[in-house]
């Protein structure tokens, strides 16, 4: 086990703040890196040291591996936390960090690489005994092969980019007629977005929920699961509201998928926190992918388990043996996370700019993870996540009430935010009933727009 004394936070925004907070509480000094656009940002202010690494475009700053490595070297840091997005699932970066004898707060480069390749990941999931969506074993290259497979597994089918993520390079085909154009469109989009035209085909599930299992593994083969998160409230494959536990699972289903996931992850020899994402329909789970990093929505798991995931992630990265057994993990109450985006609540146009007033909600059971402050200028160069309101209460119904109460207290001026969208979701009868799918929000918005 190595003691980490100083850690570079290779990220920005609310997640950088999350990491700085955990590090500070652990007595670890932090070094923020930032672009010129973020010189005034909260993560640069709150870290013990802050270094400007480049101009606003991510590729010249937050994605500049060399600049970040140089900062680690110059500041004498002994670890790098990649956060979420940016370099967090970049195998080459993780290798570079390890080659410099620094601790990469994440999994081994090999596991990043494995799970970054969607086709290899699916194979690994099958080997590890996880249920997967029926589909091609590997890349699909020609239309005949595609047509045959589609007929075998039955329409509708989904064409996905092997290197994809975030919904780009994905197309649905509902018939032989649609297949050809869906295939070429997906491949073209995949090449444009990820530099890799390789696609594969899967059975398209019509009404699934998105349920993901949080895993925690040390470097010594100890793996536990921390229950699931339900992220079915999505728009264009972007999560909007997340909750734990899922209203769709029974305790038996929860224990079962948790155990199976932990066993699979142990089989893979994985270390660090990680998330195995599933679609869940008609009582069955289907593996989608594994995220080999912290997730934006990790706080809902923290709220119902009382465990600090970032702290644990750092501890296992430093080689510590996990001292929490599966039976120690107890789920208490219900938690929601509302992602606050700087965008129009209903047409979703991004709204960066000067935050003229910022007043977060407070009181019992309300946690706010946000890098906003009054007079902060949200730069247009990065994503629109402005923060997260996380709520915990004894049951789902009380948690919804608490979310509504917190929303009503929240005040952000100068930029548009999606607070009103959250109000719409939380008050919606169908959401309150809990019986929704990943398509629900888009359908509900359509009804709202036309109704």
């Amino acid at each position: 086990m190595v003691k980490i004394n100083k850690m570079v936070i290779a990220n920005r925004g609310e997640i950088a703040l999350r990491l700085i907070r955990a590090a500070r509480e652990m007595g670890i000094a932090t070094v923020a890196v930032h672009s010129t656009a973020d010189a005034d940002s909260m993560h640069a202010r709150l870290a013990d040291e802050a270094v400007c690494i480049g101009p606003p475009p991510s590729k010249d700053s937050y994605l500049d591996k060399r600049a970040i490595m140089t900062v680690a070297e110059l500041t004498g840091a002994d670890a790098i936390h990649p956060g979420v997005g940016f370099l967090s699932e970049n195998q080459e970066f993780a290798e570079m960090v390890e080659a410099h004898d620094l601790i990469f707060v994440g999994p081994t480069p090999r596991h990043i690489g494995l799970m970054g390749d969607k086709i290899a990941a699916k194979k690994a999931a099958i080997d590890a005994g996880l249920p997967v969506v029926p589909g091609s074993e590997g890349a699909i290259s020609d239309i005949d092969e595609a047509r045959q497979l589609a007929q075998e597994i039955g329409y509708p089918v989904l064409i996905k980019a092997a290197s994809g993520g975030g919904g780009r390079g994905m197309k649905v085909a509902r018939s032989d007629e649609e297949l050809d154009s869906a295939l070429s469109t997906a491949s073209r989009e995949a090449k444009a977005a990820f530099g890799d035209p390789v696609v594969y085909i899967e059975k398209y599930l019509d009404n699934p929920r998105h349920i993901e299992v949080q895993i925690l593994a040390d470097a010594h083969g100890n793996v536990i699961h921390l229950g699931e998160r339900d992220c079915s409230v999505q728009r264009r494959h972007q999560k909007v509201v997340e909750e734990a536990p899922s209203p769709a699972l029974t305790p038996a289903l929860r224990a079962d998928i948790g155990r199976r996931t932990a066993e699979a992850v142990k089989f893979l020899g994985y270390r660090s926190v990680g998330t195995v994402e599933y679609l869940f329909q008609d009582g069955e789970f289907y593996f989608i992918e594994m995220n080999t990093r912290l997730q934006v929505e990790h706080p809902v798991t923290e709220m119902i388990t009382g465990l600090d995931l970032v702290e644990l992630q750092i501890r296992v990265a430093s080689g510590e043996v996990l001292d929490i057994k599966q039976e120690d993990v107890v789920f208490e109450g219900h938690s929601f996370e509302l992602r606050i985006n700087a965008e129009d609540p209903f047409n979703f146009m991004p709204s960066p700019g000067l935050v003229t007033a910022y007043h977060p909600p407070g009181g019992m059971g309300v946690r706010v993870d946000s890098h906003l402050f009054a007079d902060y200028r949200m730069p247009p160069h990065y994503d629109s996540l402005a923060g997260k309101i996380i709520v915990h209460a004894r049951d789902r119904r009380s948690a919804i009430q608490r979310c509504l109460r917190a929303l009503a207290e929240t005040h952000i001026d100068g930029i548009k935010t999606n607070l009103e969208l959250h109000d719409f979701i939380l008050r919606h009868e169908e959401f309150q009933g809990g019986d929704i799918t990943i398509h629900w929000l888009e359908q509900a918005l359509e009804v709202r727009a036309t109704g």
């Binding site: 010129t36 202010r45 013990d48 040291e49 802050a50 400007c52 060399r66 009054a374």
Partner: protein, 164 residues
Amino acid sequence: MAQKSDKMTSNFDVSANLLRKLADTMGNAGLSEIEYVDGDRSLRLSRAAQVAAPAMVPAAPLVPAAATAAPAPAAPAATPAVEPVSDVKTIDSPMVGTVYLAPEPGAADFISVGDEIKEGDTLMIIEAMKVMNHLPSPSSGVVRRVLISDGQPVEFGQPLIELA
């Protein structure tokens, strides 16, 4: 602080120059008020408390001298636009790294104050990840100031040299 340099005209008027000077002084010195009295005439400028912006623990800059790190917390339009002296050009660091002023230890520095420099001349070396990057001068001129010292770590955008 309140320099008496410009004479006011006899009309009820203020020289733009005086105004700018006072405003600049306020900005540079972080003042909240300046009062200027000349006989019967007086001029007072004041600025409200710098609002909001949780200053918190301002991050320690990598290099204390760095101009870009740890910016003044709130500074809402704090500094009145300073008219830069038009013929001075600052060359900023294009990367994070360690600067070396000489090609090797013990050798003479690439440049010194007063040197006449041509575009493309090597100004210094910036080391990042064991790679020595020669920094060519983007323009010609005379070295007015060297703002960093040998072996010093610099961040992106940090001013290195002033050319006149």
